[in-house]
Symmetry: C2
Subunit: 330 residues, 2 copies
């Protein structure tokens, strides 16, 4: 068996976030699905950006945020995703490498520019995302290095990958390698609209290939087409060895080898921007499991990381999560 070199290998859309405040009227006037993630083309991206207020830019991408959070906790991560060799691509590369994350895919010399996620944050701290995939859509199975997958405790993938055939192929290749190597295959359902687009495929994937599933309440209800959380919970217990179901301020419900645990959310003085809450919960949970902590302890790390991320703008930690965990006795 290959020696373990990484805690988590992540595969996801490599994006730079462009974050601005907006009110609900702006969302309505611009036809933006509140709380969701909508794919947009160049023309729509230009139009929307032109209407948005002053913004801040920082590296994003759901899975990349998770790997960045894992690194901030002191974990060893690798990330597969595509950016172009342009200014924003160099920002993405710099940020993820600065955390010590292995980022092997070469920056694209041509093709579309680095992908951007235009994020509108409303006064209720909800984020509504509009993603121009750009270079991210050119991730293919060829970008996946089997040796890295085999050397990772877990492989973590985002449901968003399903939106592009090449990325989907990369996902399936990595899952196969991880499974055959006896490693953990983990998936986040990403977004309830994304689940609605690919429900049948995701159901099969979750039942057949996924060891560890991450989902929020809306996503898991949508996956199983049920109205009650407990019905979804009963189904996921059958499908997956582990599941982490996040319910915002109501905390998280953890499934671990048939047992169910409830872990409270951490208190936050002021919720500023919920972007990255789920991503960072996954950081903590994956860090914990890969370091031999119990599922409950791992979920507490997830709750801590999620609380840090929602207390400021943007989906990357502003403090060392390893230091924070130490301060909190985790």
């Amino acid at each position: 068996m290959t020696e373990l070199k990484y805690d988590v290998a992540g595969i996801g859309n490599a994006l730079v976030d462009v974050i601005a405040d907006a009110d609900d009227h702006f969302l309505v006037a611009n036809g933006i699905e509140k709380g969701g993630m909508t794919l947009i083309d160049t023309a729509r991206a230009d139009e929307l950006y032109g209407r948005m207020g002053q913004a801040i830019e920082m590296s994003g991408g759901s899975c990349a945020n998770t790997i960045a959070g894992l690194a901030s906790l002191g974990g060893k991560g690798a990330f597969f995703g595509k950016v172009k060799k342009d200014q924003l691509g160099q920002v993405f590369e710099h940020d993820i490498k600065s955390l010590g994350v292995h980022f092997p895919a070469p920056l694209a010399e041509d093709g579309p520019p680095t992908g951007r996620c235009l994020i509108l944050v409303t006064p209720d701290a909800q984020r509504s995302m509009n993603t121009y995939l750009g270079a991210a859509q050119n991730l293919t199975a060829d970008d996946i290095d089997a040796d890295i997958i085999k050397a990772s405790f877990a492989t973590y993938m985002e449901g968003y990958l399903w939106d592009q055939p090449g990325a989907k192929a990369a996902f399936l290749k990595a899952a196969k390698i991880a499974r055959e190597a006896g490693r953990i295959v983990s998936l986040t359902l990403s977004d309830s609209f994304c689940v609605a687009r690919y429900r049948d495929e995701f159901r099969k994937l979750v039942a057949d290939e996924v060891d560890l599933l991450f989902a929020n309440e809306a996503e898991i209800l949508s996956l199983y087409e049920v109205d009650l959380f407990d019905e979804a919970l009963a189904q996921v217990k059958k499908d997956c060895k582990f599941a982490a179901l996040t319910r915002s301020e109501a905390g998280a419900v953890i499934v671990a080898e048939g047992e169910v645990h409830v872990v409270d959310a951490d208190k936050v003085a002021k919720v500023v921007d919920t972007t990255g809450a789920g991503d960072l919960f996954a950081s903590g949970f994956l860090f914990g499991l890969s370091h031999g902590y119990s599922p409950v302890h791992s979920a507490r790390l997830g709750a801590m990381a999620a609380a840090e991320i929602i207390s400021h703008y943007g989906p990357r930690p502003q403090v060392s999560l390893a230091k924070l965990a130490k301060e909190k006795g985790l």
Copy 2:
């Protein structure tokens, strides 16, 4: 006399800030002048960026921050500065235009990339700046539109412009137009190292051309080469009709037609990043004067804007300053 169309026309280096945390050891190990602004070349920018941690990007530039703050207060601003037509230049253009600021200089089609200021924020919230001017250095007198200067209550310029011959010429041209049109010529000394580089020229400029001077304590002491604040104050009273001398948490000392007023700093729960404190003080003071408020009232607006900016990362307001002023009865 030309009709007033703008409160303030600003001329400055157009930059995108790249902001990361660092400890004092990092500053020492990388030979960074703590609290200052150092000009760097491409090689040094690449080296330093490569060593910096994960960063956030947002529009910056001292004078541009002031004009952005003025716009956030509800003022009408224009800004002259140069960026390239690249991703970061488009970010700069978007952000300043999104505030309703008139930004007439066309984006450069070739030449160096958009300028960046690599900002390291230490745990004491002090910021140390390393500026790669890039396209900003190509601002020239030709970029200054005389009609805009004539139509502005005040023209506001940054001392940093002195570092480039073209920008200096732009400054002098604008000052001459403003003076001849009977408008206010205002200057910020920018940085004590900058003052040390051009002390003699700045002394002459302040005495002969500047109606309103902005400086912090270190800058004004350096300008007059004195040790005591009161000595500097006595000199600036002779040189300028108005002066706003900022002293961090000790508040500001305002000179207004021979009279001296002391205005307290606003309380801040937690100082996160002092980048932009002086820039935003100038926003409030200029907004106030151009709207007919008293110098003391104007300084209170400055103190309010400075307090907002140091309570978070980055030099652009995160909330509407107009709304904040209303809430505070200003």
